[in-house]
Symmetry: C2
């Protein structure tokens, strides 16, 4: 294989020129980048490669921000729940929050913008009934917007003396809400507007790395006049000042995903998708003007759940997201246009202040970005990046970061890199990112020559792979649609809370996405609403509904919608497959828990139908789904209890501890399949493939473009006349495999190896 | 110990006189009884003991019943769910039912009394839209009641020819409902009235024992005129014909608990509490007249759940139960009066046709029974019998039955008898039944002399115990209230489906009742409604709410009732204890799952609050609750997942697999305690005791009238100045124990032994 180059971005740093040059040559890199903690010197910037420069739009300019503290970003916060033990109730509503991060907004009338709720009844307590101590809101003559400006001006003065504007809570002040006619033994919460004083990512880095006295980056809100003007002028200035930058890497635009710390400086709330940081009085007023109705604080606070993606979104919240996303796209486009006008490319980092720029959202394309770069945790996160529509190229940042937590003496960083690469490679075989890259301190990685050797191999393999698979459609055995409340917007992002982190309630479902990311199937994401509006697309072979009951992923109350039930029944009846994982279509209604129990052939016993005898408890031992590995290797993760077969025609494929965990059921010309959970592993990947094929009556595909060994996969590219057999494991593997005509061959593959063949 | 006699009932049988006499003397029996399969001959009946005779009111008289098939008992049945795949829908609504047991009622207008429901929407389909094939309803000139009588007369003729009245489905006929404008891909069910042709207990015995050609006992309904008159006249005749009977043992009165078989003659539906067999057109019409509203079939069919006790009862269903119970009490009283007039006692068997006579119901006392006899499966079922108010005496029928399944060559029946006795004895120490007895074939037991020796010991021990504990209040460490939707009516009967049988979804809660049945605490059962009406009674120390979410036991939607929340908070705040097991107070509302999470200090993560960090994961290793046995012996049965502590003040006592399973939490002067499940065993009995004491701040009671060894219990009777130390195990035990003054003593006890002491 001849040495290739390109499609690789390396981090660099000051005073590392010679080694950077050496590594560029060695690894075939064609771009270098700076990052949060590293700057590049002039000589490095002059190397004959592209230069990426990190750019922050809405933070990192405290000299500006401090002059306009009234333009800080905002949150709706919900106080802890406080029980009234008499008629007198006090809520110390800042308890549990990190006062360096957030402070109550007294610039805007709390009586108008805050909401005290009796959480025992859900009733909103009239603002006339409560008071605040201290109450820093200054009722001025005219409109509150005026008041805010007045306040901000006068208080800016004070900032210089005390460090905090007078309308902010001062050190030592306790923020209290007082209600004198509470109902004893009811619980209350206060939803209140707060200003954000610290950018969450900078706060996280600051606290994690003990940056000490370094001032907190104050996040300002470009919806507000000074900030909006500043952001654009500052970018112009910056572009002029950085002639050697080729790619402006926005990290990111305006609003950070919701990340709050607590009074002990520990993470309190994290939602990678959360719109919590986008709110402001200006936004709420603009929303009301446009949509004709006013949002209540509760429309955003959502009982304290703040519309995590596990919640089925309300209409108000969807409206609000749309409103924000449209605004963000419009404003981001202006910045991108400036970048283009300066002759540079605009790249977006997928994360941090990415709220409103979700790449699968309606307005993303309008921003006009050249590219998106994101962190790759495995196959699903790779596809999350690679499948992004509307950009010229995508880039995956691979693990490990060149940070001291991995690159320390005595540790070998290669295994982590290998696991990351091999799991992502499965996905690349289906849809490659256009570039790969790394982050951190290049000087650190340089001290690990075996690691450099390994990533040199990775870069070579990536380029070779990219050359072969880019722009050609890999063979797909069928097309799968994932159905949940979010659909396309959250493509490859279902079941995520913090980006790609493990959650006990998620991994048994996230495994489906990870398995699919590198499987020879096409995958699309559909929302219930989309199906209701347009029906199941004709090219879909199998639909998957997976999740815990009442979550957005399973669907909850939407299953009472007769049209949804009917169209899925029709889909399967006419030959489609339906796979349910966990608690699919679950919602107690009209005598069933799984509303599509008739398709699955199983339902879940919730205690109400214990009187009805359950007869079917014997699992088949031979079945299409069970041909690849012994039953004891079945692993349903968190699994389910009390799933029972409805009729003897249900094919029970696993039964233990009083419950079915795997089953199949004919329904018209199609089939329903139930799986209790599907964490990611090789066995479950194969099980899912077989379930997909069986549900759609495509069993024959298991002998076409298919390896027999679970550790290996085969990807065929008929247009190019080539196919690859891949060893996904760290061990040597032998496998038989079937080509496109069903002929059997065999191969021996070294750990992680890949063999290419020509289609004859 | 001197030999005693009395308080023991033995079964006898024909041609077993000498041995019966011998056993009466040997065991000290003072009563003999016949049963379903045994009759007593004249000489046996003349023995100098009381004679119990089984009496069936509403079955066993086919010569009458066959002349009045229109007076057969009735059911509402729900057809299987049938999906329409086009506009033409056919429901073969008798599919899956046992046609020898039930047949559709064509005497009463199906268009009026049946209900076709679209189960995809819940909509009732107008009866004008469907038709039946065959449709045997004869539209006569006048009222349907007339029609029914007309039909019944004409058809009685036909009975003699074909064996079935013409208005019944004939052999080979398929019962179809036909709808021509169904909505494709909707599911439908037909709720229809049916006649019961076979008494369920007799059917069960008949099928189980292969009674072949023996005709089925037809159940008639004493709400109907001929049956009502017949039942009373027949009882009078019978009383005259049975001068030697001392006790008429009603088995039972009029309506059997719901028990249906399927087309394969296997149990299809069983609910020991089900009112399914009480329905009739006459009852529905009388109900409407009295209550001013008409019941829909769905009010009884309940989506096919038929109001299992796991369902939170609706107002309509509670009204209906009350209506039936009142009727049954009134009619039963007439029969009991006849028995008394004949100089005999009236005893009721707790089971079979017992619907409407529930002993903890409002009207039970009015029946005027002398006694109730019931089957004892363990401590809770013993207390179910022993605690019955309003009768002169109670009797427990102990296990094993003298049947060939236990009494066969090579088997030793003693261990089963011992286990039954020792588990029931715990409960007897708290509240004794007044008599014990056995059932089955005495001749069989006679062949097992060691067994006879053992039950002789049991009888002696029971009489001795009874002498000591009857009529005196045992010392109670505190008073416990069990709170659920049913309250007192289902005292000791919570979590039951079929009488005392194991269910996977029940045992982790039923263990609470079994543990309490023999614990030195007072126990009462409260419904939510009762608490809402009267508050928590002053003498209650601890309340327990235990069950799966949304069941009647946990409570479901009632937890949105602010008054209920408030009064329980006030109760604990002022010093009460609250113990939650499983999913207590669970109902998603206003940001919580456990509505009393603030008391328990824990809530369950349903996926919506994954964004909120959970900090508290470390279990205490030393705690009042954990002093008696090692943590690895904790057994939460089916247990729970995703239970998390809300604050650091929550005392986590067990944490594993990402979940709290045992915790305690201060709330005002009281405490909340959470337990993930509590199947019955010695460890959990002690754990529950400690939880009760801790929750009510009565920890000191653990050194008063208390054994240290888990296998032993102590019961004190201060009024009598005595106390007993009991070995509940089959092994020899040594134990320390504390007397009422906290002084420590010790004892060595043989397997199952009991030592009595005098209080000094």
């Amino acid at each position: 294989m001849k040495k290739t180059s390109g499609r690789l971005t390396l981090p660099s740093e000051n005073n590392f020129l010679k080694e950077t040059e050496e590594l560029i040559a060695r690894l075939g890199a064609d771009a270098i980048r700076d990052s949060d903690g590293t700057k590049l010197d002039e000589e490095t910037l002059s190397l004959p490669v592209k230069v990426y420069s990190t750019y922050f739009v809405a933070r990192g300019h405290n000299e500006f921000a401090k002059e306009h503290m009234e333009e800080c970003q905002q949150f709706y916060l919900m106080s802890k729940r406080v029980t009234a033990f008499s008629h007198h109730l006090e809520i110390p509503y800042m308890d549990g929050f990190f006062r360096k991060q957030v402070t109550p907004d007294f610039l805007h009338d709390p009586k108008k913008w805050w909401e005290l709720i009796d959480r025992t009844t859900g009733e909103v307590i009239s603002p006339e009934r409560w008071r605040l101590s201290p109450d820093k809101f200054v009722k001025s003559s005219g409109e509150k917007a005026e008041a805010s400006k007045e306040n901000s001006k006068s208080s800016t003065e004070e900032t210089k003396e005390t460090g905090l504007p007078s309308y902010f809570l001062q050190d030592g002040e306790t923020a209290l809400l007082i209600l004198e006619d509470a109902t004893p033994f009811h619980e209350y919460t206060l939803s209140f507007l707060a200003f954000a004083l610290w950018d969450p990512t900078e706060m996280y880095n600051h606290i994690t790395n003990n940056w000490g006295d370094k001032p907190a980056d104050i996040p300002f809100d470009i919806r507000k006049p000074y900030s909006n003007r500043f952001a654009k002028e500052e970018l112009k200035r910056w572009l002029e000042a950085h002639p050697k930058t080729d790619v402006v890497r926005f990290t990111t635009f305006f609003y950070h995903f919701t990340l709050q710390f607590n009074h002990e400086e520990k993470e309190k709330f994290v939602d990678w998708f959360g719109y919590g940081g986008t709110v402001s009085v200006e936004a709420l007023e603009a929303f009301e003007k446009e949509y004709g109705y006013r949002l209540r604080p509760e429309d955003l606070v959502d009982e304290g759940y703040f519309h995590s993606t596990f919640r089925t979104p309300t209409k108000a919240y969807l409206d609000y997201m749309d409103f924000i996303a449209r605004f963000v796209a419009k404003e981001a486009k202006e910045l991108v246009d400036l970048v283009h006008a300066a002759g540079k490319e605009a790249m977006m980092f997928l994360g941090d202040n990415w709220i409103g720029t979700e790449p699968y959202g309606k307005y993303f394309k309008e921003i006009g970005l050249d590219s998106v770069v994101g962190s790759v945790g495995g196959g699903a996160t790779l596809r999350l990046i690679a499948d992004i529509p509307g950009v010229r190229y995508t880039e995956g940042r691979f693990l490990p970061y060149f940070f001291p937590d991995t690159f320390y003496e005595g540790n070998d960083p290669v295994p982590e890199a290998m696991e990351n690469w091999v799991s992502a490679r499965r996905a690349i075989m289906r849809k490659p990112v256009d570039r790969i890259g790394y982050g951190g301190y290049l000087s650190l990685a340089y001290k690990f020559p075996k690691f450099i050797d390994y990533i040199a191999e990775v870069a070579e393999e990536f380029r070779d792979l990219y050359e072969k698979v880019q722009g050609t459609k890999p063979y797909a055995k069928l097309k799968v649609g994932i159905v949940n409340a979010w659909g396309k917007l959250r493509s490859w992002q279902a079941y995520m809370v913090a980006h790609a982190l493990y959650y006990q309630k998620a991994y048994s479902y996230f495994g489906i996405l990870e398995a699919l990311s590198g499987m020879d199937t096409d995958v699309e994401f559909y929302s219930f609403d989309e199906l209701l509006e347009k029906g199941v697309p004709k090219d879909v072979d199998v639909l998957i509904n997976a999740g815990d009951a009442m979550t957005s992923w399973s669907g909850g109350e939407i299953w009472k919608e007769e049209k949804l039930q009917s169209l899925l029944r029709a889909f399967v009846y006419n030959g489609g497959g339906l796979i349910g994982v966990g608690e699919p279509s679950a919602c107690s209604f009209q005598g069933k828990y799984f509303q599509l129990a008739d398709i699955f052939g199983v339902d879940k016993e919730m205690g109400f139908s214990l009187s009805t005898d359950k007869y079917f408890k014997t699992a088949k031992t031979e079945h299409f789904l069970l041909e690849d590995f012994p039953a004891e290797n079945l692993n349903f993760g968190e699994s389910q209890k009390s799933i029972y077969a409805l009729e003897k025609e249900t094919e029970i494929l696993e039964y233990s501890d009083g419950s079915v965990h795997l089953s199949a059921h004919d329904y018209g010309k199609g089939r329903g399949i139930y799986i209790a959970g599907l964490p990611y592993n090789m066995e479950n990947t194969r099980l899912l493939l077989r379930a997909l094929l069986y549900s759609a009556h495509k069993e024959k595909e298991i002998r076409k473009w298919q390896c027999t060994n679970l550790a290996c996969e085969l990807h065929a590219y008929p247009e190019k006349g080539i196919y690859a057999v891949v060893n996904n494991s760290k061990e040597k593997q032998s496998t038989d495999f079937y080509d496109g005509k069903g002929r059997k061959h065999s191969a021996e593959l070294l750990p992680g190896a890949m063999h290419w063949y020509t289609i004859d």
